[in-house]
């Protein structure tokens, strides 16, 4: 496939004077990164994310799994560069993510948030073209290339037919795809998704994760998904980072992280874990009574 979306490798190849930092296969490297939310330095912190480390390669899907208030969103902010780690580092291809200029960062990292609020109505096409902003200069008007890339992005998530619709006139599942298409139009090397399945019905959830699986494989994106969906994580993730109350309890393959005792402890619910024939764990929840 020779779509313009397939530039990640080429762009990652030419941006690294200090590239050889450990394993060259590693794209994202979180090294003992921590963060503390405190109203002011003299008071007790409201929330602490303790130092944690993991690495992710190109084409890999990593799930950041944990219950509410486990530090998932904080970790996502550290990785996206929105926050600077209190200690430790987050490197993307050898560059600290928080230190990148906003434009450069948006060329390499795309974030898909739960919902995109709009102040004024906008077309799907305009919305997806926003993903090209970081690639433009000043007031430049969208080029033919930008339009091709935006269309390809929509096609990749199966939403090309929505191109002339209004954003406020499409369904939740369709909107989620369009938001993903805007992220793809950024041509990132790291794709971050914050609870992407939250407002989707089951069919749309599987659809979305199938697309992510395919995109990670075809475009060599590193995909990082924040979620509390146990079974989707078990089915789709290559690597799981399990968080609880600001601590990283385990990092590893779903099969190694999905231990009954561990998950019961983290999610505070009785459950059982079985392995499917494909080697993927499956979780069943039980009532507390």
């Amino acid at each position: 496939m020779s779509s313009p979306l397939r530039t990640p490798q080429s762009s990652s190849a030419n941006l690294s004077p200090d590239q050889p930092r450990g394993n060259p296969d590693v794209r994202l490297s979180v090294e003992q990164a921590s963060y503390v939310y405190a109203p002011n330095p003299s008071q007790a912190p409201l929330f602490t994310l303790e130092a944690l480390s993991f690495q992710a390669k190109a084409g890999e899907i990593v799930a950041i799994l944990g219950p509410n208030a486990s530090g998932k969103s904080t970790l996502l902010k550290l990785i996206s560069g929105a926050l600077e780690p209190l200690s430790g580092h987050v490197f993307l291809n050898g560059f600290a993510t928080h230190a990148l200029a906003p434009k450069i960062r948006a060329q390499r990292i795309a974030l898909v948030q739960q919902e995109s609020r709009l102040l004024f109505p906008s077309h799907v096409s305009e919305f997806v073209l926003q993903g090209r902003h970081a690639h433009g200069r000043g007031l430049r008007f969208e080029s033919e290339d930008d339009i091709t890339i935006a269309k390809n992005a929509l096609a990749q998530v199966g939403a090309l037919h929505l191109i002339d619709r209004w954003m406020d006139k499409i369904s939740g599942g369709e909107k989620q795809r369009v938001i993903l298409a805007r992220a793809l139009a950024q041509q990132p090397i790291l794709l971050l998704l914050d609870e992407p399945t939250l407002h989707l019905d089951i069919g749309a959830q599987v659809d979305l994760l199938d697309s992510l699986r395919r995109l990670a494989a075809e475009n060599r994106y590193t995909v990082l998904v924040v979620t509390h969906e146990l079974n989707l994580t078990g089915e789709y993730a290559d690597q799981v980072v399990l968080l609880q109350k600001g601590k990283c309890l385990r990092v590893g393959s779903p099969a190694s992280v999905f231990q009954r005792d561990l998950l019961e402890h983290v999610f505070q619910a009785p459950l059982s874990v079985e392995m499917t024939s494909s080697g993927r764990p499956r979780v069943t929840l039980f009532s507390n009574k």
């Binding site: 929105a82 200029a101 960062r105 060329q107 948030q113 609020r117 102040l119 096409s125 339009i147």
Partner: protein, 346 residues
């Protein structure tokens, strides 16, 4: 998919410019003294050819020396207020933001009055004293936005109803300050309280200030225009804009300063004319969509058209007496504001 192109931008602005031209011609013709179109054309050509001496009639004097500068003033003030309104709506992510509603114009008026008082206390050279009022208005506008911005924040986020309420209260407080300054400290020529609170284009500034105003408008509006595509993304929220590659603090600072300058310039020469910055951006958005690369120039031209029409009405409907132009804009703008508010709530 039809993204905005430079050609379409010029075409649409060209159409608006032609409409503005016809509105100006009509505004020149209308008034207490009737002028023929032929005489108008002849005199205007003479002005353009620097042969003003050829215009000997009283008609010519009325048109060239009184109506034309006033119309030029309306153009600059209308364009400034509309561009400022468009900018504030994007910056504060609030479609009801407007320099007048948020009290920013009143802040600029207080700044102007204080500047005029300082000016009357010290004997300054005339070149310098002409500039001190716009400067005071700019400071007044900038301080008021900062105050309203912090009043409107709740838990680190801008809350749109708190912001509006904060702005409206600020406006009312500053109106009281204006009344106080007018009735207790007023000395010399500070114009009337109704001038500052309602706005009027009836007292013409010196020609040098008019040039300064035009240049100030071009610089400030140009600075805002460089952030036009950033503003499109800022509508989705500061965090989202940041992740799409917008340097949010820089854009916020540029727009904040430039919009303060625009409001300050407009208020220092015309008082607080309301609702232009609300009405015009919305009308333009309905016609051209919400892409700021189109919306900003359309608002500038639309604001100029709207204020020339409003001022022509202000000086003709009760001729030979005249209304403050702010009364005309408020008569149209306030009901429109209510309409937008109700639509947002539903």
């Amino acid at each position: 998919m039809r993204p905005l192109t430079l050609g379409r931008l010029f075409l649409r602005c060209g159409i608006l410019a032609i409409i503005l031209f016809f509105v100006v011609v009509i505004a020149l013709k209308l008034g207490a003294v009737q002028v023929s179109l032929y005489g108008l054309g002849r005199d205007l050509i003479r002005v353009l050819l620097h042969q003003s001496s050829g215009i000997s009639t009283d008609y010519g004097m009325i048109v060239v020396d009184i109506r034309l500068p006033r119309i030029l003033l309306a153009i600059v003030v209308g364009a400034s207020l509309s561009v400022a309104g468009t900018s504030f709506q994007a910056l504060l992510r609030n479609p009801l933001a407007d320099p007048y509603v948020l009290g920013i114009s009143s802040g600029a008026a207080v700044g102007s009055i204080l500047a005029l008082m300082i000016e009357s206390q010290f004997s300054l050279s005339p070149e310098f004293s002409g500039l001190i009022t716009p400067f005071g208005a700019f400071i007044g506008a900038a301080v008021t936005i900062a105050a309203v911005y912090f009043l409107g924040r709740r838990e680190g986020q801008i809350d749109s109803s708190t912001l509006l309420l904060g702005g409206i209260i600020t406006a009312s407080f500053l109106s009281a300050v204006i009344m106080f300054l007018m009735s207790t400290l007023a000395a010399g020529n500070l114009r009337g309280a109704s001038y500052w609170m309602m706005g009027s284009l009836s007292s013409l500034p010196p020609t040098s200030l008019l040039y300064f105003l035009g240049i100030g408008f071009l610089v400030a509006a140009g600075a805002i225009y460089t952030t036009a595509s950033d503003l499109n993304l800022l509508l989705a929220g500061e965090k989202e804009a940041m992740h799409l590659g917008v340097d949010v603090p820089r854009v916020r600072m540029v727009v904040y300063l430039a919009a303060s300058i625009l409001t300050g310039l407009a208020v220092s020469v015309s008082g607080a004319i309301g609702y232009v910055g609300l009405l015009v951006p919305h009308a333009m958005r309905m016609i051209f969509g919400s892409d700021h690369r189109m919306l900003l120039p359309a608002s500038a031209l639309g604001g100029a058209i709207a204020l020339v029409i409003a001022d022509t009405l202000a000086r003709t409907v009760v001729a030979p007496s005249e209304l403050p132009v702010g009364a005309v804009t408020a008569l149209v703008g306030a009901p429109f504001f209510i309409y937008l508010l109700r639509r947002r709530l539903s």
